[in-house]
């Protein structure tokens, strides 16, 4: 009997079987809609051709309406204001407010659509439908959620420290927003092109720990305090691998300025994820811990400690805690894209496509990986996570740092052509990643042949002798 002959067992199965792709739906469109779509397509192609002509002719370069780089508009605005003879604080404040509004609308807009994107993607990974009731494709679901949260009763537990209880939902937004400041969106388009960008990014990202701990402590709830303790322990542990991998990035590129790191990747036509694969993996994994996402969301493990540090928060305050995770996810995506994926550049295509769109695409790709990890991996145990940071990532990061230091000297001072030295560095780092990871895993007791039914690596890095003893019991 063929599969189609079976009647769908459930409404859900019927929905999945009845699913048609966008192309299939387009085939059944009425004639008027087809004509309108064709006209729209022709107009888009014509507009693209016109833009392409302007780009080739060079008449667009640096004009205020050159939207490939929104920095052109603001610099023209500043120039105009200076010509008016106004106080220099006015252009400074204006550009600051404009950029602040830009970042605010970016984060705010993502909070509106992000929860929908995340839930729909997760649903796809788990072969579900996801939210699909409110509005087309369920797009109005986040708005419905926000309206529900804002109308809920704002309860405060009796035993809580009231002032400290109110602070964390506000404070936790500071790293999520301020972290965007040094990110370069195009050659002249960054909110602040800081000369200490990397150190600033590390410093700002570690502020989140304080808000988390305040939330757990002020709630006066055992679960909340336990969740906060776990989160703080995990976040501080994973901050060291992050700092060390960024140290090797800085050693190689020779700058703390994020735009200079992008410029290095542009200069050598290579992404740092290829030059430093181990560092990129460490950064990706450690940043999922740093922003408290599954598989590393041990601080708010629902199955163990209710909701972790925000157990006692309800209504809009809980909503802010949930929202900031989405904001943090794309912030880390932006950092990952800038440090390891070439930032706003795409091998010359940034002349044609606005750099901020390229960066947004890369952020989306990294975010997809985050959702993928969340949909695939189970949650790790706390001792496994801590052991992985201290016994695996940090020693390898130290070795990586020393190797990269030698490579940076060779690249800068040997006088050989950059192609040769950088290719050599890529080869050495690839070998280091492959053999170093294997050798170190062997050294700390990982035996892949010992059978997949026992978690040998996790026991080895977690150092949990109790687990080993439990497994020895027949």
């Amino acid at each position: 009997m063929s599969r189609a002959a079976l009647p769908p067992a459930t409404p859900m199965a019927r929905q999945i079987l009845d699913h048609r792709s966008l192309l299939q739906r387009a085939r059944t469109l009425p004639g008027e809609a087809r004509v309108a779509l064709a006209l729209l397509g022709i107009m888009t192609v014509a507009a693209l051709a016109a833009v392409g002509y302007l780009v080739i002719a060079g008449t667009l370069d640096g004009r205020w309406y050159d939207i490939r780089d929104l920095g052109n508009g603001t610099s023209h605005l500043v120039y105009w204001m200076e010509r008016q003879g106004w106080h220099p604080a006015i252009p400074y404040l204006t550009t600051g407010l404009l950029g602040g509004l830009g970042i605010l609308s970016l984060v705010g807009g993502w909070l509106v659509i992000g929860s929908w994107v995340e839930r729909r993607l997760l649903a796809k990974f788990q072969i579900r439908q996801g939210p699909n009731r409110n509005g087309p494709f369920g797009l109005l679901q986040p708005i419905a959620d926000a309206l529900k949260l804002i109308q809920k009763e704002a309860l405060i537990p009796i035993g809580a420290d009231r002032l400290l209880y109110y602070l964390p939902p506000v404070l936790i937004f500071i790293p999520a927003m301020l972290g965007w400041a040094p990110v370069p969106w195009a050659a002249r388009m960054s909110y602040v092109d800081m000369n200490v960008g990397v150190v600033y990014a590390i410093a700002i990202s570690s502020l989140g720990v304080l808000a988390v701990f305040l939330a757990g402590w002020s709630s006066n709830n055992h679960y909340a305090l336990l969740g906060a303790m776990r989160t703080v322990a995990m976040m501080v542990s994973y901050e060291i691998p992050i700092s060390m991998t960024l140290l090797s990035v800085v050693v190689l590129t020779g700058s703390l300025q994020l735009s200079q790191i992008v410029a290095w990747q542009q200069q050598y036509h290579v992404w740092l994820i290829i030059v430093l694969p181990l560092a990129a993996f460490t950064f990706l994994f450690a940043s999922t811990a740093e922003i408290n996402r599954t598989p590393n969301d041990i601080g708010e493990a629902e199955s163990e400690i209710v909701a972790g540090f925000h157990t006692e928060y309800s209504g809009m305050k809980a909503g802010l805690f949930l929202a900031v995770e989405l904001g943090n996810a794309i912030l880390v995506g932006a950092m990952m894209a800038t440090f390891f994926l070439g930032g706003y550049t795409l091998f010359g295509l940034e002349t044609w496509i606005p750099g901020y769109l390229i960066l947004a695409t890369k952020i989306g790709a990294v975010y997809f990986v985050f959702v993928w990890l969340r949909g695939t991996l189970p949650r790790f145990r706390l001792d496994q996570l801590m052991g992985f940071a201290w016994k695996f990532l940090i020693p390898l990061a130290i070795v990586q740092l020393l190797v990269v230091a030698v490579e940076a000297l060779v690249i800068e001072q040997s006088g050989l052509p950059g192609v040769a030295t950088v290719s050599g560095a890529i080869l050495v780092n690839a070998l280091l990643t492959f053999f170093g990871v294997r050798a170190w895993a062997n050294a700390i007791g990982y035996r892949p042949e010992a059978g997949a039914s026992t978690p040998i690596l996790t026991t080895a890095v977690g150092g949990l002798r109790a687990a080993a003893r439990l497994q020895a019991v027949p």
């Binding site: 109308q151 009763e153 704002a154 309860l155 035993g159 500071i174 030698v406 949990l464």
Partner: protein, 124 residues
């Protein structure tokens, strides 16, 4: 240069604070207008404990293992921050500087090995 850059960050800080405060204020305003329910009771406001009454306060002593990790974090983080100035200027420096930095890093590595040996990294 530096004050100019961090002045920008201060402007951004205003946005960062306004962003979460606005929905909280809206929620509070709804409460004042009696648009959302606002009937606290001792049962609702009790500390959540999976159905049983909470025993005592949670503001007390905590396990020392967290302290060990925090201590390790402080040592490592400070040392790494000291390495950043070297990292920026590294490529332009003579080779001898690399050996000095390697000495510094190896002290870090030795500290890690010592902590490992003393079983400070075990989650007990």
């Amino acid at each position: 240069m530096i004050p100019e850059q961090f002045g920008r960050v201060a402007i951004l800080l205003v946005f960062a604070l306004a962003f979460p405060v606005l929905p909280l204020a809206a929620s509070y305003l709804f409460g004042c207008l009696r648009y959302r329910p606002d009937n606290p009771s001792p049962i609702k406001q009790a500390t959540y404990e999976c159905g049983v009454e909470s025993e005592g306060t949670s503001w007390g002593q905590f396990h020392a293992r967290y302290y060990l990790f925090a201590l390790g974090f402080v040592i490592f983080d400070v040392d790494i921050i000291f390495l950043y100035p070297w990292a920026v200027n590294h490529a332009a420096m003579p080779v001898i500087v690399l050996f000095k930095a390697a000495l510094f890093i190896s002290i870090l590595a030795f500290g890690l090995a010592y902590a490992w040996r003393k079983r400070a990294l075990e989650w007990r």
